[in-house]
């Protein structure tokens, strides 16, 4: 090997700035700005017509009024029936998705053998991949008649069928993200706990789940948000009749169904009906956004950091 001391003292100065690196960083930042532009776009798209709307209809009337009939002469613009409709469906959906989703995730991550996982995970993913319009079909064509068969008096369009189906639809959302979070917990942690004498229940519930908590709670949030913002299932199966009730057996109209039903038609651009799309849209947006903030705080508070 050539004598190293013969090499001249190395010149460390590099006056060339690595331009390539700067350009790349710039391009990557630009990608990140797309998401900023999206948010700005959404805010402008919602706020501009909504502010117009609230010049004609007072915010108080909008939020507290109990009748929603914008197309009547004179129209009623109380949004509560739409909100109730959304809530009725969402409650049912979450009652299904959260427990069953998390349970599935724990099973898949901590209990299932490799072979079982290989079969079950794809199956759950199939469920996740089914479009909402298909679930809507199922709710209308099967679940509603089935509910009647087992003695629950539901209307043809009702929140219960939509909610149940939506809940099942959201199980993979909860399960998949929770399971990914649990998988990301290093094996060393599990082995350590087992070595200390823990059993599987212990390790799963007291070691893995807390370590993965940020991911798990994030999955719940995503599920709730999707439930509130879900359109097709409710559009098809829950109805288009705004009703001030939380009884899931009745026909309702959710905020999303209203927006979709009104937005697709050719409503004249400047009209008050057109603006209701944005007013309700803004309400929807604010509701989901507020929830998201709560959830983010929750995640931060309960996060356990390893490493």
């Amino acid at each position: 090997m050539a004598s190293r001391s013969a090499v001249a003292p190395p010149a460390l100065q590099s006056s060339r700035i690595r331009w390539g690196e700067l350009v790349i960083k710039g391009m990557l930042a630009l990608c990140a700005l797309v998401s900023v532009a999206t948010t700005v776009g959404i805010l402008i798209a919602l706020l501009q017509p909504a502010i117009d709307f609230f010049r004609e209809i007072s915010v108080v009337d909008f939020l507290t009024g109990s009748e929603w009939a914008p197309l009547f002469e004179p129209g009623s613009f109380g949004v509560r029936p739409l909100v109730y409709g959304t809530l009725a469906v969402t409650f049912v959906a979450i009652a299904v998705a959260v427990p069953f989703g998390l349970g599935s995730a724990i099973y898949l991550s901590e209990y299932a053998h490799r072979r079982t996982r290989k079969v079950l995970k794809p199956t759950l993913e199939i469920l996740a991949g089914i479009p909402t319009v298909v679930f809507g079909y199922f709710a209308l064509v099967f679940v509603t008649p089935w509910l009647r068969d087992i003695g629950i008096q539901v209307d043809i369009f009702n929140a219960l069928a939509a909610g149940l189906v939506m809940g099942v639809m959201l199980i993979p959302t909860v399960a998949s993200l929770s399971e990914d979070a649990m998988q990301a917990v290093p094996d060393a942690l599990r082995h350590g706990a087992y070595a200390l004498g823990g059993n599987r229940v212990h390790v799963a519930t007291r070691v893995v789940v807390p370590a993965a908590l940020s991911g798990i709670v994030a999955s719940f949030v995503l599920a709730i948000s999707r439930a509130i913002g879900e359109t097709m299932i409710v559009l098809i199966a829950a109805g288009q009749q705004p009703t001030l009730t939380l009884d899931p057996r009745r026909t309702v109209e959710t905020m999303t169904a209203f927006i979709a039903a009104t937005g697709n038609g050719d409503v004249p651009r400047g009209s008050i009906e057109y603006k209701t799309i944005f007013a309700v849209g803004l309400t929807l947006f604010v509701a989901t956004y507020a929830m998201n903030i709560v959830a983010t705080r929750l995640v931060r508070r309960f996060r356990e950091v390893y490493e």
Binding site: K25, S35, I42, G103, G129, V133, L235, T296
Partner: protein, 275 residues
């Protein structure tokens, strides 16, 4: 005893999902199998439910899917790389960026439809065209891709980066040659899942005018409909025969998605690492 009970509860959770899935598929196939004829795939919509076809819808769905991948993967992965490998996390604007993406993931799809309606269709003057549909779907699933990619990047152990830096690699070299290849399976899986979701989306497309009677093949800048929208259209007709036809359309849609799902699973099973 507690162990067995716990395990039983977990299995019950799983079975709820599986049983429902089975019932759903059975219902769809029972109704729709008889509808699978050539016309459904090669024909166009018609006032006779037995002759109604979904070719324009199918073509539009495929085109939008391809456009979507071309848009969302570079932007989404680029964003993820920026946030994970380049951004100084102490800076307020980077933290805001992160929060913004998490929030966008929680925004309902119909709001993206509103965005599309306001800006692309009426604002930018693009009109109710296929390209607008692709763009809106891109924005819709972008947060999902970013989040999945970030998780994949984060899963790469820091010791790998340290080792690469210590050898004199620049930041981009470390990312491009070590981190990204290691994170690729997770990124690929996330992207394919995002694509699957986008293909099944109906609400945003309704908002930008895809719920129309289309009897011709779609072009990039022309009117269009998509397969899920076409299905919805048939379901909402009062004629029950259309509902059955919709079931046929559903089978076609599920077929497309099944293929995509297979690819995603293949990638994940073949390449996933446990560190």
């Amino acid at each position: 005893m507690k162990q067995i009970a716990f395990r039983g509860v977990l299995l019950l959770s799983l079975s709820v999902a599986l049983v429902t899935l089975g019932t759903l598929l059975f219902t769809v196939f029972q109704d729709g199998w008889g509808q699978l004829d050539k016309t459904l795939i090669t024909g166009v919509n018609s006032s006779d439910p037995h002759q109604a076809g979904a070719r324009p819808a199918i073509l539009a769905t495929i085109e939008m899917g391809l456009l979507l991948l071309a848009f969302v993967v570079p932007i989404g992965v680029g964003t993820a790389i920026y946030l994970e490998e380049y951004a100084n996390k102490e800076r307020w604007y980077n933290r805001l960026l992160e929060i913004n993406i998490m929030n966008l993931a929680a925004v309902p799809s119909i709001v993206y439809g509103i965005l599309g309606l306001a800006f692309l269709v009426r604002g930018l003057g693009l009109g109710r065209v296929l390209l607008a549909g692709a763009m809106i779907l891109t924005l819709l699933v972008l947060p999902t891709v970013v989040i999945a990619s970030r998780e994949a990047l984060r899963a790469v152990p820091n010791s790998i980066r340290q080792g690469a830096y210590a050898l004199g690699a620049t930041r981009w070299q470390v990312v491009w040659r070590q981190v990204l290849p290691a994170a690729l399976p997770g990124i690929a899986t996330g992207s394919i899942l995002a694509l699957s979701r986008a293909i099944g989306e109906t609400a945003p497309l309704i908002m930008i005018g895809a719920l129309t009677y289309i009897a011709f093949d779609p072009t990039l800048l022309g009117p269009f409909t998509a397969l899920p929208v076409q299905i919805y259209d048939w379901i909402s007709q009062s004629d029950q025969d259309y509902t059955l036809r919709a079931a046929g359309g559903i089978i076609v849609l599920l077929g497309i998605l099944l293929v995509l799902n297979r690819v995603a699973i293949f990638v994940r099973n073949r390449y996933q690492k446990r560190w």
